[in-house]
Amino acid sequence: MWQLVEKGLLELDVNGERKTVIARPADTLLHVLRTQLGLTGAKPGCENGDCGACTIIMDGWPVKSCLILAADAVGHKIQTIEGLHDSPAQSAFLEQWGFQCGYCTSGFLMVCHALAKIHPRATPEVRIDWLQSNICRCTSYEEIDAAIRSILHEIEEEPAERP
C-alpha cells in the first residue's frame, strides 16, 4: 500500500518526464504543477471545479487539476498545455481566433485536444457536452466552437443549443 502521511517527495509523470516534487497529501495537483514545477499554463480560476481553467489531461482524459490531489496523480500520465506542441487544436484556435484574454484558453485547448483524440468523429451532442465543462468570460464560445469543429469530422447535423 502506497501512502503519503506528511509533506514529502512525490514522483509525477508530467509531459513525458519524471518530475520530483515536495507536496502535502492535501495539496491539489493544480497547486503542485504551478508552484513546484512552474507549469503555470493550468490556471486557478474558481478552484471549485466549475470553470475548467485548470484542465489538464490525465491518461488521455481531460480532468480539472483543482479537483485532484497531487498524491492521487502518482502513477498517472499527466499532460499540461506546456506539453502540447503544434497540435491541430492549437492551430485551429489561432485560425479561428478562439480566444480573447486567454485565461481560459489552456483549459479549453486541453479539452479540445482530448476530444479530437478520443472522439475524432464526435457528434455535435458529444462536442457540446465536452465544451460545456469550461467557461470563457470573454464569451468566445462561437470562435472556440468553430475551432473544434474545424478539426472534428462530425457525423450529424448541428443542434440549436450552444456550449
Binding site: Q3, P25, D27, T28, G49, V63
Partner: protein
C-alpha cells in the same frame, strides 16, 4: 488550497483498505474513503469537511471492475462516470448519471463517490434503484451483497468501515425501454430541479426520483399509481404526488410549487411516451 492536513493511503486490496480504515479509526483520525476526491477537495477547501486521513479506493482491482458476463453487469464503484458512460452497457445509467456536473468533472467523479455523496442529488443511484441492482459491500466482516433498494433509504446505509465495492445488475434489465430525464432551472450544467429514471419492466413503469425531495427515492406506491391505467394520466399524476416521501425541496434553485409542476409535467411526458409500449 485545503487549509488542513491529512494523511493519504492508497490500498491495493479490499483487505488492506478495511484494515487501514480500522487502524486509522482507532487512532481517532476520522478516516474517509476517497473515490474521485472532488467532494472531499471542494468541501475541505471550505472547511465543511474534516478528516485526518483519506483512503483512496481507486487502485483496488475490484473497484475498477467493468464486466459483462454470466448475465450480470458488474460495475466497480471506483469507475469514473465517464468510463461507465463510454462503455454504455447500461443506457439508463448513462442517461441518468450522464449529466452529473460536467463532462470533465465526470472524468474524475466515481460511481461510488456519487452514490455516497454528501450532496442530496446522487443521480447515479437512480438507475440502480429501478433495476433492483445488488450492492457489493466490503467491511471487516467480509463481503456482503444486498439489493440496492434494501440498503438505500435516503442514503446508502453502511456499517462503520464498510465501503461500496461494486454494483451488479441483471443484464436482462439493461436494454428494457427506459428514459432518464434531468430538468434544470436554466443552464444545462446545474443541479436538477428534478431528475428521474424510468424503466419499463414486465409491462410496468418503474420510477426513481431525485431533486424533488432532499434525497433520491423509489416509492412502490407511486409506481402503482403511475401504472393504474384505469385512471386518466392527470389523475395518476395527482395520486403519485400523495406518496412523496418528504416535503418538496424549496430553495434558490426552484420553489416547491415549481418543482412539483416540473415533476408533474415530466410524468405526463413519460406516460405519453410509454403508453401502449411493452
Amino acid at each position: 488550497m485545503i487549509p488542513f492536513d491529512f494523511e493519504y493511503y492508497r490500498p491495493d486490496s479490499i483487505e488492506e483498505a478495511v484494515n487501514v480504515f480500522e487502524r486509522l479509526d482507532n487512532e481517532q483520525k476520522q478516516p474517509i474513503y476517497l473515490g474521485g476526491g472532488s467532494e472531499i477537495i471542494t468541501l475541505g477547501r471550505l472547511n465543511q469537511l474534516q478528516t485526518q486521513a483519506v483512503i483512496d479506493l481507486k487502485r483496488i482491482p475490484e473497484c475498477k471492475a467493468l464486466q459483462l458476463e454470466e448475465g450480470v453487469l458488474v460495475l466497480g464503484a471506483g469507475l469514473s462516470l465517464t468510463e461507465v458512460a463510454e462503455a454504455n452497457h447500461f443506457p439508463l445509467l448513462t442517461e441518468s448519471a450522464g449529466r452529473v456536473a460536467d463532462h470533465t468533472a465526470r472524468c474524475t467523479i466515481t460511481l461510488g463517490g456519487n452514490i455516497c455523496s454528501n450532496l442530496m442529488y446522487r443521480e447515479a443511484v437512480l438507475a440502480f434503484l429501478v433495476a433492483d441492482s445488488q450492492a457489493v459491500i466490503a467491511g471487516k466482516q467480509g463481503i456482503r451483497r444486498v439489493v440496492f433498494s434494501d440498503i438505500y433509504n435516503k442514503r446508502l446505509h453502511l456499517h462503520r468501515g464498510e465501503f461500496l465495492v461494486q454494483i451488479a445488475t441483471d443484464t436482462k434489465l439493461l436494454t428494457l425501454p427506459h428514459r432518464g430525464v434531468k430538468k434544470t432551472k436554466d443552464s444545462r450544467i446545474n443541479y436538477p430541479l428534478v431528475s428521474c429514471a424510468f424503466l419499463k419492466c414486465d409491462g410496468r413503469l418503474r420510477l426513481a426520483v431525485t431533486g424533488l425531495c432532499a434525497f433520491p427515492f423509489r416509492m412502490r406506491e407511486m409506481e402503482d399509481c403511475l401504472n393504474d391505467d384505469s385512471l386518466a394520466p392527470e389523475e395518476r399524476i395527482k395520486q403519485c404526488l400523495r406518496y412523496l416521501p418528504a416535503p418538496i425541496v424549496d430553495d434558490v434553485e426552484g420553489s416547491a410549487p415549481y418543482r412539483q409542476f416540473v415533476f408533474s409535467n415530466t410524468l405526463a411526458e413519460v406516460i405519453e411516451q410509454f403508453e401502449g409500449r411493452d
